[in-house]
């Protein structure tokens, strides 16, 4: 409870919050988003999807368990800035290898603590995600505001190339090898290959600019489109790649950004949500089984309801509230019929797509969790089954 250096946080609409410097002293800009997870700050910080975003943690205490060697979801911290209310002075956990603030400082992450994060969150909820600046070197909010307004916007941002791996790498199956998957890294999290590995999948992770042939050259039985940051409307390369994968009928699974890419590849629109879904308590209805899973979310964009416009709240979604298994209309695309397989029960946002005639499905949320519940882990089984079905029926003939 000792005094820290003062810091300010200024939103692009001019609202200002005062707090203290946390992590690195300096100045940073990004898109302000809030995350409601009560655990998993280390996973959040190292999730590449948060690239160029300033994350506001609604959980008031951050850093309680320090940081450890095994919970990183990538090789570094990606958030552009970090906003917390009460940072821990000590981390306490048997796996901890250091403190969070030391890690933030070491990686040059500028943060602010002592902020009324609830007021900030309510503001973002009402006004939408927006640009923000944090500074522990500037004391004049007006000067900082001017710089905030010069920072780039998230709409139209193509960020995959900034977060993708420089070199391909392989994550081996644990136990007996069953299948090979080529993952296009648009900002992949480490837990995806890990969940695949648990099912006997060897994953080849390839850089964002890779072609279909690069992917299939790994001997892949299937393709995985990873999560990642940015506006899917800019992802022309991955969308084209996805279309080619669909055309060749190679089994395809995508998560989050990968789901938006599949949506665009099928000809659907994508749009930016007001303030996004970021948390680990989001209820998603599996429209095939009628079951609800509690899931991990981190998305600011979503696939528009095919044929229904962008505002899912404005449409009545049959069955979404009644747990009943309601076969939704099959939407015809150039790759055959497609169904909305999952929706978020909070706001009816499209959370999953399933192709009927080609072996492809995606979800907008994070079955790999990390952080978050494991309710949707079954989707990796579905992926394995999809691959198994194809390899059995057709053999390995796509290359």
């Amino acid at each position: 409870m000792t005094k820290r250096r003062p810091a300010i946080l200024v939103l692009e609409d001019g609202r200002t919050f005062h707090g203290e410097a946390y992590g690195s002293v300096g100045e940073t800009f990004g898109e302000a988003v809030f995350n409601t997870g009560m655990t998993g700050y280390q996973e959040t910080l190292t999730d590449p999807s948060y690239h160029r975003q300033v994350v506001v943690q609604t959980a008031p205490h951050i850093g309680n368990t320090g940081v450890n060697d095994s919970d990183d979801e990538s090789g570094r911290i990606w958030v552009a800035g970090y906003v917390v209310r009460d940072p821990a002075r000590v981390g306490s956990n048997w796996r901890a290898t250091g403190g969070l603030e030391e890690r933030l400082s070491a990686e040059g992450v500028v943060g602010v603590s002592g902020v009324d994060t609830r007021a900030l969150t309510r503001h973002l909820r009402e006004r939408g995600a927006m640009r923000v600046g944090i500074s522990s070197v500037e004391t004049d909010p007006r000067a900082l505001l001017a710089r905030v307004r010069q920072a780039p916007e998230m709409v139209g941002a193509d960020l995959s190339t900034e977060v993708t791996t420089a070199q391909p790498y392989v994550v081996a199956a644990s136990g007996e090898h069953r299948f090979t998957v080529a993952a296009l890294d648009l900002g992949i999290k480490r837990n995806v290959p890990r969940r695949l590995a648990a099912r006997g999948v060897t994953t080849h992770v390839l850089p964002a600019g890779s072609t279909v042939d690069d992917l299939l050259a790994t001997g892949a039985d299937a393709v995985f489109l990873s999560p990642g940051p940015g506006d899917p409307a800019t992802a022309d390369g991955p969308v084209a790649l996805a279309r080619e994968v669909l055309r060749r009928e190679v089994p395809l699974f995508g998560i989050c950004f990968g789901s938006q890419i599949l949506g665009r590849a099928l000809g659907f629109g994508t749009y930016k949500l007001g303030y996004g879904h970021r948390g680990i308590n989001q209820p998603v209805l599996d429209r095939v089984t009628g079951k609800v899973e509690v899931t991990s979310h981190n998305h600011g964009f979503a696939v528009a309801w095919p044929g229904r416009g962008q505002d899912p709240g404005a449409v009545e979604v049959p069955g979404a509230r009644h747990g009943a298994v309601v076969p939704d209309a099959v939407i015809e695309t150039e790759f055959g019929g497609v169904q909305v397989s999952h929706v978020c029960l909070n706001d009816n946002v499209v959370e999953g797509l399933r192709a009927k005639d080609v072996p492809a499905f995606t979800v907008q949320y994070h079955p790999e969790a990390a952080a978050g519940p494991h309710d949707a882990d079954y989707l990796f089984d579905r992926f394995a089954e999809l691959i198994e079905g194809r390899t059995h029926s057709e053999g390995r003939t796509h290359a």
């Binding site: 409870m1 000792t2 005094k3 919050f17 809030f34 409601t36 997870g37 009560m38 655990t39 998993g40 280390q42 996973e43 609604t58 959980a59 008031p60 205490h61 309680n64 368990t65 450890n68 095994s70 919970d71 209310r85 009460d86 821990a88 002075r89 000590v90 306490s92 956990n93 048997w94 796996r95 009324d116 994060t117 609830r118 007021a119 969150t121 309510r122 909820r125 948390g279 308590n281 989001q282 209820p283 209805l285 009628g290 079951k291 609800v292 509690v294 979404a320 509230r321 009644h322 747990g323 009943a324 029960l345 909070n346 706001d347 969790a369 990390a370 952080a371 978050g372 519940p373 494991h374």
Partner: protein, 1133 residues
């Protein structure tokens, strides 16, 4: 999957009297369930013997049976009501055990009643230790874990002491002993030595209805967590809340300081607990509803052990509901009738479904409230047997804020760190020798005790490191300790700062420190008032945030608030006239659910009060309370809920926020603050609030003083010519002795301004008087000791009455105590209408009560206690507030006294309330019709929860200091029936045959002859100690003679006879007088407590028991719903 259409009529089982381990959280959950079911168009029948519950208000069910929750009586209800189903998961272990017993007796099958919310197999799998162990291992296999067997402590179920010893030979000591099928961990404990083992395992085998205990590997010192889960019939599962215990394993979770959400888990570890919880829930097969699972986590390597699960709504689920805003009981009721989680809207957001997991952007701390001071000799060590009698919860935007708020919610002498000298805190714990060195203090941490956080703070302040405190405390997590260490550092800063500037003051408030704490550190600031003045001058005031289940992700529609020091407030301005109702804080002996009942009634009455004119209908009600167990802190109860400590500072700030925002909106702001319904807690704030400009309504603080200050009250009585026992006030032994000499022994001595008879004793001689004054350390001219002539063998009468501004008095009820005067009214049983009083007595009571009400100036409720001796009526005391008996009287007479009191406080007259129909048009509780049923209130005492450090039971003798935790009501046409029901409900049914052990004091021998003779005639075998046996034989009563415990001679003695379980009833009145009354007979009474045999300690009690036994032997017990009884009463008016 919409709701089932085949369920038209459901029987809800409540939890009965408040006991340790099962408190008013089940009224909260049951009330929610009843509301939900009725709103779904389902007929609801209800059984609950506790009259102080909201759920037993007749409007919450179609048929409300205030009858014992025993298989015998519930079967009578089933036979009469023929419900389609029973919902047993919202009434605690009592309801669940009763449901299991009904199933096993074939009653459910016989009447074709379905069990919903749980099935027998799941209950057994959850509660049976060995089955549960297998379940957990299976869940581990299902999750493909490496070491599924490691998910439970190594353990074995034992059915005899021989088995226990063999098991311990393998596992080694220490071991934990857990009896099967007991609630609140009753009978469980940790054995460090073979002696511990013999005692705890022996008791545990006896306490378990199936004579079964689990002996298991000790996980003492591991981190302890709980998850609250819900499952629907479509197998959707959500975790509503995680709870972390600050006190590591070894202290019952009910006795631990707990935090929500879990603070010291990484996501990976938390998700493992979640996976396990869900897997166990599925494996156990809880069909629908809530369930609670406890885990231990090894701090060294993260190994998880599943400790237990409760396949029902629990104390923790009430806490979780209040902590998150997710109403578990309400949802459980909906799930039980077939809804699924995604079909139920989230009450708070209205837009999102209940199928989600709440996210908190605040920290919740719960601290247990103990009552060791009530049980001298009880072992103060906290163990796996729950001993606390209540709890307070606080919310803050960080842990230290929530912690400090919870600590000042306790209403103990210390109101948070540093508010009283260390030695005072230490003395109150009963387990901390108040060492002044680091080493002494660390040593005091080794034994878990009440107030251990104070000891932790002292150790850190004296220079102990966090590692040292973790080690000494047996494993308190370093993160929690660092939070307290930060407070210690802040304290030093505050003490050392040249001035308390705005920056430092703001920082202190953000850490949760109260003005009183700051005043203690800065003596120059003219106490708490000085700090507040400074703070307000600097513009530092709390803001109010909202509990919204979603960390602000969605808009909340429910104004459920807590204070914090942050930037933005969320109080929505409202122009409606507002009334604040101050609740009663943590449950404790003497101040429990009865007061919450009155507060809830005030809310109900004021929300719907006709205001007339532009104001339209209903006040905006604002509830302030910090007790998570209660109905008052359900966000559905009042228009606005502030979950705040009931201290002057916190209440004043809520008033300011509501009043100023109301005025800013163009309204009148807060038009009244009601302090009379929440017991002594809010009453104690009355004068200061009024002085600060707060509109305290109802009886004025000055009038309260008139009743409570003995000299002023004496003058009121003298003016009206009312008799009172001779009395005086003393501030020293010499003064006290002078008074005693003048009025004659025995005298009743007590401190002024107390509730529950705290520190009250009957003194028979100078030596005891000297001893008493010596122990009354806080005696001062402001707080004198009252010395009253004690009226031996008088009949005690309790009256609850209403008085309005015109001085009209409505007699709510006249209750006649069954035990003679001298036993605290809260501990004695009583009957309404009075069973032996003449109408001339009642007329005199009416006259006296009217004179007191008018003389004091009561505007609302008044409780008066009288003693009738030799046909002369004496006033013992008067309390110008809602009393403990208000709910009992309301239920027995069908008149909502607290509602009327709230209306009177806001200006209504009794005549208006009669015209409105809130009060009967004519007559009152002093003029009940001749055919009115007899209601008997019986107190429930917690003796079997406590042991001395050597393992003996504590004394069960009753006296002027209140010891009961709760009460039941038996209601029937005749006294014997009503009394028998009250006994069945409170302690288990009176025996109808077998052996009765009798040992009475010389002065009681005359009075005892007739009742014992009647028992002998009824076929009981009588066993008596020498003196008693002689007298009985002289009256031709055959009896077996047995020696007292300390008398020499061979063969069995009284104690071993009782412990042997061969006795159906013990009648023992205290021998001698004064201090020796406590020791003689103690062995007998404590043996009765240990063996769980009813023990009667007074002659009138024995006479009543005889009538009850006769009623039971006749076997014509009937059950009648309150609705029927009340309709008959109203019709007879």
């Amino acid at each position: 999957m919409p709701k089932r259409t085949d369920l038209k009529h459901i029987l809800v089982i409540g939890s009965g009297p408040i006991v340790i381990g099962q408190a008013c959280e089940f009224d909260y959950s049951g009330t929610q369930a009843c509301r939900v079911l009725r709103s779904e168009g389902i007929r609801v029948s209800l059984v609950n013997s506790n009259p102080a519950t909201i759920m037993t208000d007749p409007e919450f069910a179609d048929a409300t049976y205030v009858e014992p929750i025993t298989p015998e009586f519930v079967e009578l209800v089933i036979a009469k009501e023929r419900p389609d189903a029973i919902l047993p998961t919202l009434g605690g272990q009592t309801a669940l055990n009763t449901a299991v017993a009904l199933h096993e007796a074939g009653v459910l099958e016989k009447y074709g009643v379905e069990l919903i919310g749980a099935n027998i197999e799941a209950i057994n799998r959850g509660e049976d230790r060995q089955l549960f162990k297998d379940i957990v291992a299976k869940a581990g296999v299902r999750l493909r874990l490496d070491d599924p067997a490691g998910l439970v402590p190594r353990s074995r179920v034992c059915h005899s002491m021989a088995e226990v010893e063999a098991t311990v030979a393998e596992l080694g000591l220490p071991v934990v002993i857990r009896p099967s099928f007991t609630m609140g961990g009753l009978g469980s404990g940790m054995a460090h030595t073979p002696e511990d083992l013999a005692r705890i395992a022996g008791d545990g085998l006896a306490a378990s209805p199936v004579h079964e205990v689990l002996i298991e590997e000790s996980v003492l010192g591991w981190k302890e967590y709980e998850l609250e889960l819900m499952r629907d019939r479509h197998d959707n599962v959500v975790v509503v809340c995680s709870i972390e215990n600050v006190d590591p394993m070894g202290v019952h979770t009910g006795d631990s300081v707990t935090v929500a959400p879990a603070m010291t888990l990484t996501d990976r570890e938390y998700q493992r607990l979640r996976d396990l919880g869900i897997a166990v829930l599925r494996e156990v097969g809880v069909d629908t509803g809530g369930c609670n699972i406890q885990f231990a986590v090894n701090p060294a390597d993260g190994r998880i052990v599943v400790i237990e699960m409760n396949p029902r709504v629990s104390r923790s689920s009430a806490l979780a509901s209040k902590a998150t805003g997710f109403p578990i009981a309400k949802i459980a009721a909906k799930l039980a009738i077939g809804y699924t989680l995604d079909e139920i809207p989230n009450d708070i957001t209205l837009k999102t479904p209940a199928a989600f997991e709440p996210a908190l952007d605040y920290v919740v701390v719960k601290i247990p409230r103990f009552a060791f001071e009530k049980f001298p000799g009880a072992d103060p060590e906290l163990t796996t047997t729950m001993k606390s009698v209540g709890e307070a919860m606080s919310l803050g935007r960080n842990f230290s804020e929530a912690l400090n708020k919870a600590m000042r919610s306790m209403e103990t002498k210390a109101a948070g760190f540093w508010t009283v000298p260390d030695e005072v805190v230490a003395a109150a714990t009963g387990a901390d020798p108040a060492g002044t060195t680091k080493e002494d203090t660390l040593a005091a941490l080794r034994m878990p005790h009440d107030g251990r956080l104070y000891t932790v703070e002292r150790a850190l302040r004296l220079g102990a490191s966090i590692a040292e405190v973790t080690a000494a405390s047996g494993g308190i997590d370093p993160w929690f300790l660092d939070q307290i260490a930060a407070l210690v550092e802040l304290r030093a800063e505050i003490v050392d700062a040249p001035v308390l500037d705005a920056e430092l003051l703001r920082r202190a408030k953000r850490a949760g420190l109260s003005d009183r704490q700051l005043a203690a550190l800065r003596p120059e600031l003219a106490a708490e008032d000085g700090v507040r003045t400074l703070r307000h001058r600097l513009g530092i005031r709390p803001v109010y945030k909202t509990v919204d289940t979603c960390a602000a992700e969605f808009e909340a529609t429910t104004p459920y608030h807590y204070s914090t020091y942050d930037q933005e407030t969320e109080v929505v301005p409202s122009a409606r006239p507002k009334v604040m109702i101050l609740g009663s804080g943590p449950n404790r002996i003497g101040q429990g659910i009865e007061f919450d009942y009155s507060c809830v009634h005030a809310v109900q009455a004021l929300r719907s009060a006709p205001l007339g004119g532009a104001a339209g209908s209903g006040y905006e009600t604002v509830m302030v309370n910090c007790n998570p167990e209660t109905v008052s802190t359900d966000y559905d109860t009042a228009d606005r809920l502030y979950f705040e400590p009931l201290t002057f500072e916190d209440v004043l700030e809520v008033w300011h926020a509501e009043d100023s925002s109301g005025r800013a909106a163009g309204g009148p702001g807060v038009v009244g603050v009601i302090v009379q319904l929440g017991g002594q807690t809010p009453l104690g704030l009355a004068q200061r609030l009024k002085d600060a400009g707060v509109p305290v309504v109802g009886t004025s603080p000055e009038s309260i003083h008139l009743a409570e200050e003995r000299g002023a009250f004496g003058a009121v009585l003298a003016r009206a010519g009312l008799r009172a026992p001779a009395h005086g006030m003393a501030t020293s032994y010499d003064e006290a002795k002078a008074i005693a000499d003048e009025i004659g022994y025995p005298v009743l001595v007590r401190p002024s301004y107390v509730l529950g008879g705290r520190g009250m004793e009957i003194v028979y001689d100078d030596a005891t008087l000297r001893d008493y004054i010596g122990r009354a350390t806080e005696i001062s001219p402001d707080h004198p000791v009252l010395v009253d002539r004690f009226l031996d063998d008088a009949i005690e009468i309790d009256v609850d009455a209403l008085c309005d501004a015109d001085g009209e008095v409505y007699l709510g009820g006249v209750m006649e105590h069954i035990e003679e005067a001298g036993i605290h009214s809260g501990d004695s049983s009583c009957a309404l209408p009075p069973i032996t009083l003449a109408s001339s007595h009642v007329a005199q009571v009416r006259r006296y009560t009217e004179a007191i009400a008018r003389g004091v100036g009561v505007r609302g409720l008044l409780n008066v206690q009288y003693a009738l001796k030799d046909d002369m009526l004496y006033v013992l005391e008067a309390n110008p507030r809602a009393s403990r008996t208000v709910p009992f009287v309301s239920k027995a007479t069908a008149v909502p006294l607290a509602k009327a009191a709230a209306r009177i406080a806001l200006g209504a007259t009794i005549a208006e309330l009669r015209a409105e129909g809130l009060l009967p048009a004519t007559g009152d509780g002093g003029s009940l019709p001749a055919g009115a049923p007899i209601a008997v209130k019986e107190a429930v005492l917690p003796f079997k929860r406590f042991r001395t450090p050597t393992g003996k039971g504590v004394d069960s003798l009753l006296g002027p200091e209140m010891k009961s935790t709760g009460e039941v009501m038996g209601i029937d046409v005749a006294f014997g029936h009503a009394f028998a029901k009250s006994q069945s409900a409170a302690y288990g049914s009176l025996p109808t045959g077998g052996k009765i052990f009798v040992s009475v004091a010389n002065r009681d021998k005359r009075g005892m002859i007739f009742p014992i003779k009647r028992l002998a005639d009824l076929g009981f075998e009588i066993v008596a100690t020498t003196g008693t046996a002689e007298v009985l034989r002289r009256h031709g009563i055959a009896c077996e003679q047995i020696r007292k415990h300390y008398e020499s001679g061979g063969g069995e003695d009284a104690v071993s006879l009782i412990l042997g379980g061969d006795v159906a009833l013990v009648i023992n009145t205290p021998q001698g007088s004064g201090a020796s009354a406590r020791s003689d007979g103690y062995e007998i009474r404590s043996a009765a407590v240990t063996a769980d045999i009813p023990c009667i300690t007074t002659v009138p009690g024995a006479a009543a028991a005889v009538m009850g036994i006769e009623a039971r032997i006749r076997g014509d017990m009937q059950v009648r719903p309150l609705q029927e009884l009340h309709a008959a009463l109203r019709a007879a008016e």
